[in-house]
């Protein structure tokens, strides 16, 4: 089991979500986060351009069994890119997942995902 964590641009969330559903991956946690990578995001405040040092991003967490890792990652990469890819499109982290428990049934492991 792996935990896939993707940090993407807010304006690609709908695309990613739709693509994941197409790929039959529907169980997902989404949060609004802020962060800083290489991207600069210019805003305007009373005639002055300002670059906020933290930029809004979307964090997606998906727990998957090993055979779904590739399809999930490929789908996110495909849907989260602006065109051929731009600075700020985001990152994906994959971490080993030690255990997964469904609270309602107490199931553990792969079937609980």
């Amino acid at each position: 089991m792996k935990l896939i964590t993707a940090i993407i641009q807010p304006d690609r969330l709908d695309h990613v979500r739709e693509a994941l559903i197409q790929a039959d991956i529907t169980r997902i946690t989404v949060s609004r986060v802020t962060g800083h990578g290489r991207q600069e995001d210019i805003e305007i405040y009373r005639g002055q351009k300002i670059a906020p040092n933290l930029i809004p991003k979307i964090r997606i967490d998906i727990a998957v069994n090993n055979e779904f890792v590739d399809i999930t990652v490929d789908t996110i990469i495909q849907a989260a890119s602006h065109g051929a890819g731009e600075i700020g499109d985001g990152k994906i982290f994959i971490t080993p997942l030690e255990e997964c428990i469904r609270i309602r049934t107490r199931e553990r492991g792969g079937t609980a995902i």
Partner: protein, 436 residues
């Protein structure tokens, strides 16, 4: 409003010779208050619409209302008042009076209604501001700000002013239709049907938002929407009770039926929802308030409270149904500008004939020197509604087409997905953690 503007036009030529008309402080004070109340509806509308869109579009949507205050606020004293309330030119197509250009000729004018003409011009200007702002609900979350700004300026000149002239100017053809004119007390045709029909045309022409209706698009802040609905209700007392251009019995009648219709509309919507879904929603109550207010707008001078009950209830019923049908048909009138203002306005303008107070009908009969039936008046109302629908629909389509092909009105997918606040204005409505 109609009687006054008529009288003022007759008096213009002889203004210097006639005995000076003096200001009535009571009437003027109420009209100043009404003028301020109608302007209060615009931030009310901004909050109503602003709360209904997604978080990333809250500022862009509120800017649609605020920019109407700015753009029409400039345009109206410049040419709008002259085009609407000047003498008919081009065969009565629109008005014009060079004295009204920049309002330069009314510096000392006191109208026969005993208010300074400045007050009347500013009161009317608030109507001209809110009308194009209503349209924005139809194409929320997907229009280019520059295109929108140009569109509402053109729309105000080519759609609002002519219709306003036909219905409210002394020599307007709808004002003089039938026995006692088409009944449009405070803007059923001029404000609500014209903007509602334009909204429908715009929603169809510009197309749906991306992924509508498959993706659910939640309102970002219904608290703000309710606050806005409340401001609209309060402001509407200026809108309707001010339209008598008086501070007397007619004002009291208009204020009473406005209150009754708003409550009846909200009550009916609430009951329908309870039967339909088992729950009364806050957005339903807000929508019912608006439906009732829209329907009573043309009728506030001629119906009694029983008629106001009926019009409020009918409007809620028809608007609720219209919104259900919209969902079936699948076009994206995002905030139901047509569903509430178009449908509610048409229901009000037509159904009012069944509730006209007998004294009004007797007066109308006297004017034609015989009899005047509600069916004849219905014919007059239907003509006014039909003319408004066709004219606003056709001209709005031409304007939308021109703006879309030159400046651009529909924004591209990336801008739509990042939201109007960021893509159009370079800002965000809420604090950092709520962004999106």
């Amino acid at each position: 409003m109609l009687f006054l503007s008529v009288a003022s036009l007759f008096l213009q030529g002889t203004a210097h010779a006639a005995p000076a008309v003096v200001t009535d402080t009571g009437t003027t004070a109420w009209m100043l208050t009404s003028t301020a109340l109608v302007l209060l509806m615009v931030p009310g509308l901004a909050m109503f619409y602003g709360g209904l869109v997604r978080t990333k579009n809250v500022l862009g949507t509120m800017m649609h209302s605020f920019s109407a205050m700015v753009i029409i606020g400039v345009l109206w004293p410049l040419v709008g008042y002259a085009l609407s309330f000047g003498h008919g030119i081009l065969g009565g197509f629109v008005g014009w009076d060079s004295r009204y250009f920049m309002l330069q000729g009314i510096d000392e004018t006191i109208m026969p209604t005993h208010i300074p003409e400045y007050v009347f011009a500013m009161f009317q200007g608030k109507f001209a501001i809110i009308t194009p702002a209503l349209i924005a609900g139809a194409f929320a979350e997907r229009v280019n700000f520059k295109g929108y700004a140009v569109f509402i300026a053109l729309w105000s000149i080519f759609v609002y002013s002519p219709i306003c002239h036909w219905v409210w100017a002394a020599d307007g053809f709808l004002f003089n239709l039938g026995a006692a004119g088409a009944i449009d007390f405070a803007g059923g045709t001029v404000v609500h049907i014209s903007s509602g029909i334009t909204a429908l045309v715009a929603a169809l022409y510009l197309g749906k938002r991306r992924a509508y209706p498959n993706n659910v698009m939640h309102p970002n802040n219904l608290v703000m929407t309710l606050t806005g609905a409340g401001l609209l209700w309060v402001g509407w007392f200026g809108f309707n009770a001010g339209s008598a251009i008086a501070s007397d019995l007619a004002t009291a009648r208009a204020l009473t039926v406005t209150q009754v219709a708003a409550a009846a509309g909200a009550f009916t919507w609430m009951i329908i929802e309870i039967f339909h879904h088992g729950k009364a929603t806050s957005l339903g109550v807000a929508s019912g308030i608006l439906a009732g207010l829209v329907a009573i707008t043309p009728a506030a001078g001629v119906v009694q409270p029983s008629g106001a009950f009926a019009l409020g209830a009918l409007a809620a019923l028809f608007c609720y149904t219209a919104i259900l049908i919209k969902s079936k048909l699948g076009y994206d009138d995002s905030l139901d500008a047509f569903g509430v203002h178009g449908v509610g306005g048409i229901v009000g303008a037509l159904a009012l004939v069944f509730f006209i107070r007998p004294a009004w009908m007797a007066d109308a009969a006297l004017k034609v020197g015989g009899s005047w039936t509600i069916w004849q008046q219905l014919g007059v109302q239907a003509t006014a509604v039909g003319v408004t629908i066709i004219y606003a629909g056709v001209v709005s389509f031409i304007l939308l087409f021109l703006v879309e092909k030159t400046i651009g009105l529909r924004i591209n997918e990336n801008d739509e997905m990042s939201g109007l606040d960021h893509s159009m204005h370079g800002e965000h409505g809420y604090g950092l953690i709520n962004l999106n």
